[in-house]
Structures are given as C-alpha cells and as structure tokens.
C-alpha cells in the first residue's frame, strides 16, 4: 500500500513540476543554511583547536601580574629552580624571556621577536627541527652567541631555498650564529605567525640584549605537565609556591598568573560551539518557514484537485488511502527538498571554506539529521491538508468546479 501511494505521489509531483519546485524551495534553503552553518562551524572549531594544540599540550605558562600584560616583579633563576625541585608532575620546564628587536642578515632587516630560553623549551612548545640542531645546556651556561630561527625568518633574512646554518644574524649589539631552523608550524591560535621568531639561550638574551641587571628578569616560565597528571594540581602547587616565595599575605591576591593552554582551547571551542548552535537555530527557523510553505501549497493543491479526489473516492479509494497519498506527496516533496538542500550545502561549503579559511569537514551525521528533519517537516505540515483531502465527500467533490 505504501509503494502504491509512493508511485501515485511521484506521478503527482511530476505532473506539476513547477509548483513542486516552488513548494520545496523553502525547505531547500532551510536545510542548506543549517547544514552549511553547522559544518563550517565545526570546521572552524577544529582549526582553532589544532592551532592551540600546536603550542604544545599540557602547557602551563607562569607570568607575573594578573592578566597577560600586567607589570609586576618578574621571576628569578631561583624561582625556576624552586619550581623544578618542589612541584611534582612536571615533565619539563623552561624559563622564557623575550624582546622585540630588528634582526639583520647580510642582505635583509626584519623586526622580530627574540626569545631567550633553555633547551627544554623546544620540547615544551612542541618545536620540531627543520635544519641543523637546537642549542644545548652548555651553550646556555656559557651564554653562547647562537640562535635557532623560525622558518619565516629564514625565508625573509636569507632566502626561500637557503640553508642558513653557519651564517650570522646581528641583533642590536651582538652577532648570533644560526645553528638550526625550526620546522614550519604555521599560524597560532591568535592569528600570529609562529615561525616569525629567533630563539637563543636565555643567558645570551639577558647578558647581551636586555642588559644584565636584577636577578629577577625572567618574564615567563613555561611548564609542561606529565601526560595524565591533572594540570589543576600543578597549577595549585605552583601557585602556592609562588605565593610563599613572593611573600604574599593570606588575604593578598596573586601577583602572578598561571595560564593553562588546554583550558584556553576548550574555552575558545565552546564559545564557537555556542555561536554555531545559535546560527544553526536561526537557520532552523527558516526550515520551519519552509514547512509552513509546504502546508500552504498542499492546501491549495487539495482545493484545486477536489474533483480529482472525488474521482478517486468514487473509483473506490478509501479515505485513509487518499490521506496516505497526500501525506506521501508532502513527505516526498520535503525529502527531495532536503536532499537538494544537502547538495546545495555541499557546494556552498566547498566554496565558502576557502573564503573563511576553515577546512571542510563532511559529517554524515549532520546530513542524516537534516534529512530526517525535512521528512518530519513533511509529515507534520502535510498532515492537515491530507486529512482535509481524505474527509471530502465524493459527491460534493465531483460537483466541484
């Protein structure tokens, strides 16, 4: 009985293809909008997560002051050593200092970020080696004039296909020998270029570039936690240790902050998810409107086909068969619209993904939900017109104009 109803419904749709098209346009647009928004949103979330994980997982950053840019006493070598000795669950830790300065090679100049740290930093921040080598502990002890550069620096200061190991870069008053190039990382979670930096031993940076001076001139400590060890514990331990070392009274706020990159990633991705859901809901409203469109057109269709319904009833169609016919018509229409919407979404996503810069992640689950939803719309909004058709009296219907 369903198959027959399906055949009859298909014939009816074919009979008036223009009207059928106009009926489903609302559904097509609604489905296309919802699927596109949700797919692109998920893609964007993935991108952000990937970018942040590029920084290194389980990464904690200890900085002076509340917030990222506050002024407050910096950390000393002794502070770093204390953390290493007294806090458990740490895989690696590195002091970090940076300064912005022009870097000069034989032929080019470029303002860049000069970072001073220890060899553990490369592991913590997930740097892989592109060419040459990283510097070692001895070089840190000596304050050797060496540096590891990012790929962007390599391209800008030396040339796209040049291997710069052995060559020299001059920063302010000192000359650094390039001993290695990091592998390409790309964009950071905040849109910054991660390959645009020069990494040198922290002692070198302190002595030569920022000037010797107070013992406290480390402006960041980067900590990498052991896998599986709750970063919350490390945060708590580091915080209490720092409070003690910086002599804070129990009622005083911290004059430092511990940032957890993982929490940062989750925060960003969850806000993106909220945005995506909101956009999806708005698009969902248009689906609803599409459903109302179906209902209206089906009602008009029933009125126009009153005579025909009379014929079917006279020939011996039962009321429920007429109901089924119109219901199947509505559902077929909405499902065809749903499929067309998904195809349209596919095309839109391929195009827009390039513009937005988000990858296009095809998720069959979303498409299935969208399809089921459009079928449901057909059933819900097609029911009333179908019931009206089934309730017609054959004699009156046959007499209808």
């Amino acid at each position: 009985m369903f198959w027959n109803a399906f055949i009859i419904a298909l014939r009816e749709i074919r009979r008036n293809i223009t009207r059928s098209f106009l009926t489903v346009v609302g559904i097509v647009i609604g489905v296309a909008a919802v699927v596109t928004m949700v797919t692109l949103g998920r893609g964007a979330t993935q991108v952000v997560k990937a970018q942040i994980s590029n920084l290194g997982s389980n990464l904690l950053i200890l900085r002076p002051g509340q917030g990222w840019w506050q002024n407050a006493p910096r950390f000393s070598k002794a502070d770093v050593q204390a953390i290493r000795d007294q806090v458990s669950g740490i895989r690696a830790l590195a002091p970090f200092a940076n300064a912005n300065a022009p870097a000069v090679s034989l032929e080019h100049v470029r303002n860049t970020d000069i970072q001073g740290t220890t060899p553990e930093y490369f592991q913590i921040a997930n740097w892989k080696l592109g060419m040459g080598r990283f510097f070692n502990d001895t070089e840190v002890l000596e304050g050797a004039s060496v540096c590891v550069i990012g790929d962007t620096i390599r391209k800008e200061l030396f040339g796209k296909d040049v291997d710069p190991t052995g060559m020299k870069i001059r920063c302010k008053s000192m000359s650094l020998e390039v001993i290695g190039v990091t592998a390409v990382k790309g964009q950071g979670g905040f849109g910054d270029d991660l390959d645009d930096n020069i990494i040198t031993p922290i002692t070198t940076l302190q002595r030569r570039l920022t000037g010797r001076g107070s013992k406290q001139n480390i402006n960041q400590v980067m900590i990498s936690g052991l896998d599986g060890y709750p970063t919350a514990y490390i945060v708590a331990d580091v915080s209490s240790l720092m409070r003690e070392r910086r002599g804070l009274a129990p009622n005083e706020d911290n004059n430092f902050s511990v940032f957890d990159s993982l929490q940062l990633a989750d925060a960003i991705s969850s806000s993106t998810k909220v945005m995506t859901s909101l956009l999806g809901a708005v698009a969902g409203v248009s689906l609803l409107v599409g459903g109302i469109g179906i209902m209206n057109i089906m009602l008009v269709s029933v009125t126009e086909r009153t005579r025909e319904i009379g014929i079917r009833l006279a020939i011996g169609a039962r009321a429920r068969e007429v109901l089924l016919q119109f219901l199947v018509e509505a559902v077929t229409l909405s499902c065809v619209g749903g499929i067309a919407g998904i195809v349209l979404a596919y095309a839109l996503c391929s195009g827009l993904a390039k513009v937005v810069g988000a990858p296009f992640l095809f998720d069959p689950k979303i498409n299935l939900i969208a399809f089921v939803f459009s079928a449901a719309i057909g059933i819900i909004f097609g029911f009333m017109p179908a019931r009206r058709a089934a309730g017609l009296d054959p004699i009156d219907a046959l007499r209808h104009e």
Binding site: R15, A319, I395
Partner: protein, 237 residues
Amino acid sequence: MIPEALIELRGLSKTYGAGDAAFKALRGVDLRITSGEFVAVMGPSGSGKSTLMNLLGCLDTPTSGNYFYQGIPVESLNKDQRSLIRRHALGFIFQGFNLLARTSALENVELPLLYRGYSRKQRHLLAREALASVGIPEKERNTPGELSGGQQQRVAIARAIVTNPNTLFADEPTGNLDSSTTREIMELLRRLNSQRGISIIMVTHENDVASYARRIVHVRDGLIESDTIQSSVSSHH
C-alpha cells in the same frame, strides 16, 4: 423462475438538512433491478434522480429504507466498506468524463487497479485490454487534452470496466457530445451490456439516449412515477 435481484430498494428515502430546512429528495422508493439490465433513469431537475443514482452507486447513505446490492444491505455499511464495494463491483462514467489531466490514457484506465494492488505488468495488460474493447488501443499514450470528447468518454468507459464490475453507473454520459459521437458511445454501452452482461444504470434527460435502454424509469418529486420496459430498443447503423 425470478432471477435473483442485483439491486433491491425498499422504501428508500433521503432527506437533506433538518427542521424547517429539510428537503425530502427521495420519499420511499421501491425498485428491483436484475442482473444484465440496461436501465435509463429520467426526470426533471429536482426530481431526485441524481440522489437516487448517488445512493445506488454507494456514494451516499439513505436516511431510511433498505438498499440491497447483491443481497448486501448497503445502508448499514460504513464509509470504508462502501468504498470497497465501489472498488470491486461498480464502475462510473460522468458527463464531464472526469479523467486525470496531464495523465496518459493508460494511466487513467489503470487507476482503479492501482487501488486494487495489482502489479505493474498486470495493470498494463488489463488496461490495454480495456482500451482495446472500447476501440481506441492506439491512444494509450495520449493525455485527455489530446483527445476528442468521444475518445475521452471511451477512456472513461475503459477505466470503468477495467476492474470487471457487474454494474456500470452512467451520469448523463453523452451530455457533452455531439449527436454522432453520442450514437457511437451509446452503441458501445449497448454492446458492453449485451456481450459482457454488465448491468447499466444511466441517468439522462434526452429521450433519444434513453431509447437505447431496455427499461425506462421516470422519477418525479422523490418517487418513481413510471417504470416501463421497451418493446423495441433503438439501434442505429
């Protein structure tokens, strides 16, 4: 031996509306039709002949009285059951042909078979047979818009007989046709009646058309005024 009645009406009445607005379309009709008859029902408008046809065709239920179709008390059937009788035992043709527009003749004719659940192959076979028996097998792909009035009525007749019903109800079947086409259609109906034994009950207001039937029933004011069997039935060459 009295042949068993195909149709038996006893005191059949139909009233529309209620109270002061009540209109008694039929006021207690008794009628007996045996299998294989060709009956013409005539009468002025408002006489109740349309109401009578609707009741006989199981399209409507009487207010009171009995209607036995092959012994089945139709007045006690529900809507679904009446649909089934129409599906299996009855065929209908109308003045306005009532074919599905933009649909081929073949698809029009096979429509009742779709509701009967026949397979595609079977439907096509029976539909083609029906079209052949009404004389237009070559028109199976044409839509009503591409057919003349006479041809459309033939398609309608084919649709009406494709399920092999035992009774055909015709409501002014030649009302929209010219006189020569009228003759053709009436000849076809007479042939179906005599060769296939299909009982035909036809409403008409034209005497010429009525003369093709063997029996003429006159209805006036909701009652049967006269019921005569013709000695000779009209036939033209």
